[in-house]
């Protein structure tokens, strides 16, 4: 009985994980509840007017959309996000959210790419030290895509480009002639040193990147996108003078975090964020890298600027025509994940200031949950009674299966709320109660199939086998449809719909697990018991009740045909007297015979 053992191991594994998690981690033995049942933290964000832009409704709506996507991507917590009074955004998060979650909500994530003009040591003043190319911050390099270990074609390209880039750096003086051009000249391209106005040079000299106050990114630090810009590295190890914005974050089509893969395909220990640009971004990025490639250090670097701080300033070693870039820095795993998530959903159109952050109580009282659970319990009892009435002893199999399914659902949800941040809302509870019906349907389909097979005259063991092979197909097909709905909605919808999809998927999978690992093995075991195999009156599988008669009566004899078997009486029900063609002919012949006899008598 391997399936039953597997199921037992699954349950034991879940329980062990939970108990261990409760003891040594922050798991709890009951599921976490959502905002409507438990309350949580409410953050009110007020938009900060940056460069004189008006706060439009559209911008607020877009900001809500982006915050929702970010929160959704971090789990299935079902945050509640709304606007208040036309301009504020209210974000309700269940329970006590982590610092990381709050950052997802608050940070604007304005990402831009600017060419590096000058790199300097972080300390202020010292104008003579400008343009020291050996500042130790950025040994990160941008390779071609730099990630595709599988794509050999790309790697080859990268290899040759690398060699070319070395040669180009060696020459290196093509751009240096520009450095002399004064403030008056119109800059020829974003790397032109004439962006570095006298004003900006002073700013650069005065900037103190060792002061922690200058290392806080934010709206006020983003700077004019069409002018030169001075800022710090995010870790305070260098300061930069940068050219105007060349690529903005909205040209990024996707971002993901992972371990860095070298050009040789070796995986390093370094956390990086990989970016994919859209077609426009790819084109601009190719132009930019082509131009930077021919420049001398440090102007062959470009800076990746997030919320006004340089998070990475890699050197260009090759032209990147396919729009793949890699951001490296001293990321922790969590930081890389957070950054990728923020970039994935775009930057907020506005920056926000946290106006208040307060605890709020549940909007639905305990009463609702208790009554809901009570209703579920009553429903379960009714289902049990009905199954017993319909299926007699088999009803116990249904009840046992439902109880195991319930236990499994409880355990899975508790584990998921620990690992995944899943939270149970009242609609979720209702969904689980409805799942009783859908789970029980699998058993009903199965039992009815077994009965059909018994009606065909098979003994129970064979009927269970044949019934299972047919019921299995139906159960798999119908559950596949539910699973498809769950997967599509989970990945495409947001907010409450996503929570629903998660619950639906979960209950469908549990249904499959129970039918395959519990109900069917139990049926196999039971079909060997005499009580069921001999079709006891209360087994629910009594062949005589099912209208099936085994034709073999033992001792090499078969049942003699019953007198009435040849021509069954038409049943007057539903649509009337239906006979097979053969029956019809027989009846007609009989009628004709009688008629002839009668005629004979007459004659």
């Amino acid at each position: 009985m391997r399936p039953l053992v597997t199921l037992a191991l699954l349950v034991i594994g879940l329980v062990a994980a939970l108990v261990a998690g409760e003891r040594w981690s922050d798991a709890s033995l009951t599921p976490q509840l959502a905002l409507d049942l438990e309350g949580g933290t409410e953050v009110i964000l007020r938009p900060v007017a940056t460069t004189g832009e008006d706060v439009t409704d559209a911008a607020i709506a877009q900001a809500i959309d982006i915050i929702r996507q970010r929160v959704d991507a971090s789990g299935v917590a079902e945050a509640e996000i709304t606007s208040q009074g036309g301009s504020n955004i209210v974000v309700g998060l269940p329970g006590t959210p982590s610092e990381e979650t709050l950052r997802l909500v608050k940070e604007s994530a304005q990402l831009v790419f600017r060419p590096v003009l000058v790199v300097a040591n972080p300390e202020p003043y010292d104008p003579t030290a400008v343009a020291d190319p050996t500042v130790p911050t950025d040994d990160a390099a941008v390779g071609d895509g730099a990630t595709d270990e599988g794509a050999t074609g790309t790697e080859d390209g990268a290899g040759t480009a690398d060699q070319v880039s070395k040669a180009a750096t060696g020459e290196g003086d093509g751009g240096s002639g520009d450095s002399g051009s004064g403030d008056s000249a119109t800059p020829a391209n974003p790397s032109d040193l004439s962006w570095l106005t006298a004003d900006l040079t002073t700013q650069l000299n005065e900037l103190d990147c060792t002061d922690p106050a200058n290392l806080v990114g934010g709206a006020s630090r983003v700077g004019d996108p069409n002018a030169g810009f001075v800022t710090c590295a995010v870790d305070g190890t260098a300061k930069y003078a940068l050219g105007p914005v060349e690529i903005t974050g909205d040209l990024v089509s996707s971002a993901s975090s992972g371990l860095r893969v070298t050009a040789q395909g070796a995986i390093t220990n370094e956390r990086v964020v990989n970016l994919e640009f859209n077609s426009e971004g790819t084109r601009i990025f190719a132009d930019t890298t082509e131009r930077l490639l021919s420049l001398e250090a440090p102007r062959n670097q470009f800076a990746i600027v997030l919320d006004g701080l340089v998070i990475s300033a890699p050197q260009v070693n090759s032209v990147i025509p396919d729009g793949g870039a890699e951001i490296s820095g001293n990321f922790t795993t969590a930081a890389a994940n957070t950054l990728a998530r923020q970039l994935n959903f775009g930057s907020l159109p506005l920056t926000f200031e946290v106006q208040s952050e307060e605890q709020i109580s549940a909007t639905l009282g305990d009463e609702q949950l208790q009554r809901g659970l009570l209703a579920g319990l009553i429903g379960l009892i009714l289902v049990g009674l009905y199954s017993l009435g319909q299926y007699r002893a088999l009803g116990f199999v249904t009840i046992a299966s439902l109880v195991v399914a319930g236990a499994l659902a409880f355990l899975t949800i508790t584990v998921l709320s620990w690992v995944q941040g899943y939270r149970l809302s009242l609609p979720g509870v209702a969904g689980l109660i409805v799942a009783i019906g859908i789970t029980a349907d699998s058993f009903i389909v199965y039992f009815e199939r077994i009965k059909d097979e018994l009606r065909e005259g098979r003994p129970l063991a064979a009927a269970v086998d044949a019934g299972w092979s047919r019921a299995k197909r139906t159960i798999l097909a119908s559950d596949a449809v539910s699973l498809l709905a769950a997967v599509v909605l989970y990945f495409l919808a947001v907010g409450g719909v996503r929570g629903f999809a998660f619950t639906l998927g979960l209950t469908t999978v549990i249904d499959l697990i129970i039918v395959f690992l519990f109900t069917h093995p139990v049926m196999l075991l039971l079909s060997r018991r005499r009580f069921f195999a001999e079709g006891h009156r209360f087994s629910g599988l009594d062949p005589s009740l099912l209208g099936a008669r085994s034709r073999y009566v033992g001792r090499g004899k078969v049942r003699e045909p019953e007198p009435a078997a040849g021509a069954p009486q038409p049943v007057a029900a539903g649509v009337g007297d239906w006979m097979t063609i053969a029956e019809r002919k027989a009846a007609q012949r009989a009628a004709a015979g009688e008629h002839a006899q009668a005629e004979g008598k007459d004659a």
Binding site: T474, V481, A485, L489, V558, G574
Partner: protein, 368 residues
């Protein structure tokens, strides 16, 4: 009762007893169509009563409350005519927040006064503002996009699985029927539509398809070799499948409806308006309608679609001809009524039924 039910199930299985659902399909199409039409008319004229999660509303904050009970706020809002039942929560340690449907300026003033009285604070301290929808247009539009993609995918999956696009079409038509009626009932009853209701509608969507797939799987099994025989028409075999799964359909819907009914009962009668009642009504209606459509609409629709195919029509003509041939042979004129059912194995007829040896070397005359 189970005995009788089992007997009934047997008769349905063997075709001894049969409900001609496919044959009377026009009646069911008319019934389903009429109810859907009524639902659509209701939705366009009366419309849904969307809650504050969809439309936004008014929000009141009562700070510095000594006793943070929710009941006074509920009572206060109940005195305002036309205000939806509020969502009340405690913010921080001593503030009460009340959210209800959007009120006019006068009503806002009135409710602020009532709340101030109820909680014993100064009227000026009660703050009010408008709040936006938590279930905004973007949530709805994304859900709709997800649904459309799901329907396209599920149509593809069903077409591949059943090897027949008509089954996919029939299943989806039945699904739209179920959802339209369930939503229509909300317009008729006028209960507030909350996010929980929406979740209920989505659940019905899944349940309806699930239910239809189970019936169709039996239809597929029965009609797999329909063209290889001349005994029954496509419609008769499909009808047999519906009859054979009738016990299952009945049991499933009873089992699914029992917990929902208990939520609805407890939600509506013991708790009054609230999440449980909202979701349970949608599910209750949806499960009943879903069972109806999987039995009375989906398969008849499939038969109607299939019978428009030339080879199915030819086959039908063939079957009719074969039956007619039997009748003429016997000289009877009345129409033959055929029992459509699972083939019940025959009885053993004994040695006499065995073919007789035609060997002339055996002594003749031993006829029996």
């Amino acid at each position: 009762m189970p005995g009788r039910m089992a007997q009934w199930g047997n008769d349905l299985y063997t075709g001894k007893r049969s409900y001609n659902i496919v044959g009377t399909k026009n009646r069911w199409f008319a019934l389903g169509g009429a109810v859907v039409l009524a639902a659509v008319v209701l939705l366009t004229t009366v419309g849904l009563n969307l809650g504050i999660a969809f439309r936004g509303g008014s929000e009141f904050t009562v700070p510095g409350v000594a006793d943070v009970a929710e009941q006074p706020a509920l009572d206060a809002v109940a005195q305002i005519e036309g205000a939806d039942p509020p969502r009340v929560s405690v913010v921080g340690s001593d503030s009460i927040r009340v959210q209800t449907s959007r009120l006019t300026d006068d009503e806002t003033d009135e409710l602020a006064n009532l709340l101030a009285d109820a909680y014993g604070v100064d009227k000026d301290q009660v703050g009010s503002s408008f709040i936006g929808a938590t279930w905004g247009k973007d949530v709805t539009s994304k859900a709709m996009r997800g649904l459309v993609i799901f329907l396209v995918l599920v149509a593809a999956v069903l077409t591949v699985y059943f090897r027949d696009w008509r089954m996919a079409v029939s299943g989806i038509v039945a699904l739209l029927h179920d959802v339209a009626i369930t939503v229509g009932v909300y317009a008729a009853v006028g209960w507030e539509v909350t996010p929980a209701t929406m979740i209920g509608f989505l659940t019905i969507l899944g349940y309806s398809l699930y239910d239809t797939v189970v019936v169709f799987d039996k239809v597929r099994e029965n009609v797999a070799k329909v063209l290889d025989q001349k005994r029954y028409t496509f419609g008769e075999l499909a009808n047999l499948a519906v009859n054979q799964t009738l016990v299952r359909s009945l049991n499933t819907s009873v089992v699914a409806v029992l917990p929902v009914a208990s939520i609805l009962f407890i939600g509506a009668f013991l708790l009054g308006a609230g999440t449980l009642r909202d979701i349970a009504l949608a599910l209750f209606v949806g499960i009943l309608v879903g069972t109806f459509s999987s039995v009375f609409l989906a398969t008849p629709l499939l038969v109607w679609l299939r019978e428009r195919e030339p080879h199915i029509r030819e086959h039908n003509a063939l079957v009719t001809k074969a039956r007619a041939a039997v009748v003429t042979e016997d000289g009877a004129e009345e129409q033959v009524r055929v029992r459509v059912g699972a083939l019940v194995p025959g009885e053993h007829q004994g040695n006499r039924a065995q073919p007789r040896r035609k060997n002339s070397s055996r002594p003749a005359g031993r006829k029996s």
